[in-house]
């Protein structure tokens, strides 16, 4: 049932020990939230899942991350194909300076889809999937920069859906957005759950409580507690978790 297995993962930025002995299994087609104070390693762990950390020179990793029982740090793994299986949405909306259509079509195109009709279809499905289609269907040729921040973020979600990933990584996807856009994206995340495994980083505990099935609480690079969301927020095992969720620090 679990799709991601993390085992004894340690990560260093140079000498700085950013992830300490992290182990967890993440269930397929569920929503998992990472919470914890800023700088505790949530984004770092998220980036190990699609190997975006490869691009930071100082990073050293030990331990194993497996997706569908394949260790993704195995040297024979093709990073580009791995990332095709894993969509990612970033903290700041980051659409390309291209049209709405081209933004969504970018992924399918680089992965070899040329057929115009097929692309049209993918773009429409993805935009519908990201609950943006009705707002932009007449403006597909217009620049993505004309959209509002919330729309841009949904466009980025659509762009990630267009490569047909199995897992969707979201790094504080609503922290740059207003409350109404945030609500829309949270609803969207709920809808996507049926088709995708979603891992979302948030420093907003209410958000974690609202959207996720399971929650992991991080502190200084360690997983302090990882359990069902309702359990973690109502009856945490650890004192540190309790301190955090009751707002005593962080």
């Amino acid at each position: 049932m679990s799709i991601v297995q993390i085992k004894d993962l340690d990560l260093y930025y140079g000498d700085f020990h950013a992830l300490r002995n992290v182990s967890m299994n993440i269930n397929e087609k569920s929503i998992t939230a990472f919470i914890g104070p800023s700088g505790c390693g949530k984004s770092t762990l998220l980036r190990t899942l699609n190997r975006m950390n490869d691009m930071i020179d100082s990073v050293k990793i030990s331990g194993a991350v497996s997706i569908n029982d394949t260790n993704i740090y195995n040297p024979t793994v093709n990073v580009e194909l791995l990332r095709k299986e894993i969509g990612m949405v970033f903290q700041q909306p980051n659409p390309f300076p291209k049209s709405i259509f081209e933004n969504v079509a970018y992924g399918p195109k680089i992965h070899g889809i040329r057929n115009k009709k097929q692309l049209d279809e993918i773009v429409e499905t993805s935009l519908r999937g990201a609950a943006l289609w009705d707002e932009v269907k007449d403006d597909l040729k217009k620049s993505a920069y004309g959209l509002s921040g919330g729309q841009q973020q949904r466009l980025c979600i659509a762009r990630a859906l267009a490569i047909n990933p199995k897992i969707l990584l979201m790094d504080e996807p609503t922290s740059a957005l207003d409350p109404i856009s945030t609500l829309k994206i949270e609803e969207l995340i709920q809808e996507l759950k049926g088709d995708y495994t979603i891992i979302i980083v948030t420093h907003n505990m209410q958000q974690a409580a609202r959207v996720s099935d399971q929650t992991a609480f991080f502190l200084n690079g360690e997983v302090i507690e990882f359990s069902d969301t309702s359990k973690l927020f109502s009856n945490p095992n650890e004192k540190k978790t309790e301190d955090y969720i009751t707002g005593r620090f962080g």
Binding site: N78, E80, L81, I110, H111, G112
Partner: protein
């Protein structure tokens, strides 16, 4: 089947990436190789001719007796006017534009104007110098005419470099000074300029080296090629190193090409020294921050 296709396609994309990686890398290496070839050739041809006599002889019709002394002194004479003058005018302009100028059409016009001046071909400055300094002001084909022409030529570069250096000083430093009751000029003199000075000096030295290497505008204002006496005043005729090199390079005899190479070595050494000083200043400054 699908999986196989995807892997095949992926291999193709990877291969394409590798090929282009090599192409881009070769493009970068092209410049380095060109530089190496140029230096090697000049060293091979010129080192044998480089000796004390070469540095202390004046120009001669015989290759063995040719020297670069008059040209070195000519360059030094010219720079002794060009360097301080362009520095004062350039830094003053930069201070005005960065610290005083309001964002109105006139100051924007000055800024655009400076940007455009930087793109004017150097030979056009030669025509300007020939008409204004040589003829209208009557300085003749003198050190003074050449120096003033070069001053105008490198002015835009010094201005822009000084502006960058001044811009890099955070506004909080100025505010701290104002809050202590300093007026604007005191703030500029005691806070802004001391912090910006290393940057300004670096930029200025680099533009001086541009002046040392320029040839065409000085030919137009009439710096002469064949000269056997050193200038005694700014109204004397003169030559500079690049023009001396040009003259040797233009002669058909092979030996003179070697003499030209020796001259180029001296010129490059002088430029290298100037650049080293500039880089030294820059590094020293960067470490402080």
């Amino acid at each position: 089947m699908m999986q196989l296709d995807a892997e095949k396609q992926m291999r193709r994309r990877k291969r394409k990436n590798t090929i282009f990686h090599i192409l881009f890398l070769s493009s970068t290496l092209f410049g380095i190789v060109a530089l190496a070839l140029l230096l090697i050739q000049i060293l091979v041809d010129g080192l044998g001719w480089l000796n004390w006599d070469f540095l202390t002889n004046n120009a001669s019709r015989k290759a063995e007796k040719s020297g670069i002394k008059a040209a070195i002194f000519g360059t030094l004479w010219m720079m002794s006017i060009t360097a301080p003058l362009s520095f004062i005018i350039g830094v003053s302009t930069a201070i005005y534009l960065e610290e005083y100028a309001k964002n109105n059409w006139f100051n924007r016009f000055i800024q655009t104007n400076i940007a455009n001046l930087a793109g004017v071909p150097s030979i056009v400055y030669g025509l300007l110098g020939l008409t204004i300094f040589v003829r209208v002001f009557g300085f003749g084909k003198s050190v003074l005419a050449g120096s003033l022409t070069m001053t105008l030529l490198i002015l835009p570069i010094i201005i822009v470099a000084s502006q960058e250096a001044i811009k890099a000083i955070p506004g909080s430093q100025r505010n701290a000074s104002f809050a202590l009751g300093a007026n604007r000029w005191q703030t500029i003199l005691r806070v802004v300029l001391p912090s910006a000075l290393p940057g300004i000096l670096t930029g200025s030295i680099l533009s001086f080296s541009r002046a040392v290497g320029e040839t065409a505008p000085l030919i137009v204002v009439g710096a002469v090629a064949y000269i056997t006496t050193l200038p005694n005043s700014v109204f004397d005729k003169f030559t500079v190193m690049p023009i001396q090199i040009y003259t040797w390079a233009n002669l058909p005899q092979e030996e003179f090409h070697n003499v030209a190479s020796a001259g180029i070595i001296v010129l490059l050494l002088m430029l290298l020294t100037m650049n080293a000083v500039a880089i030294f200043l820059r590094n020293k400054y960067q470490k402080k921050n």
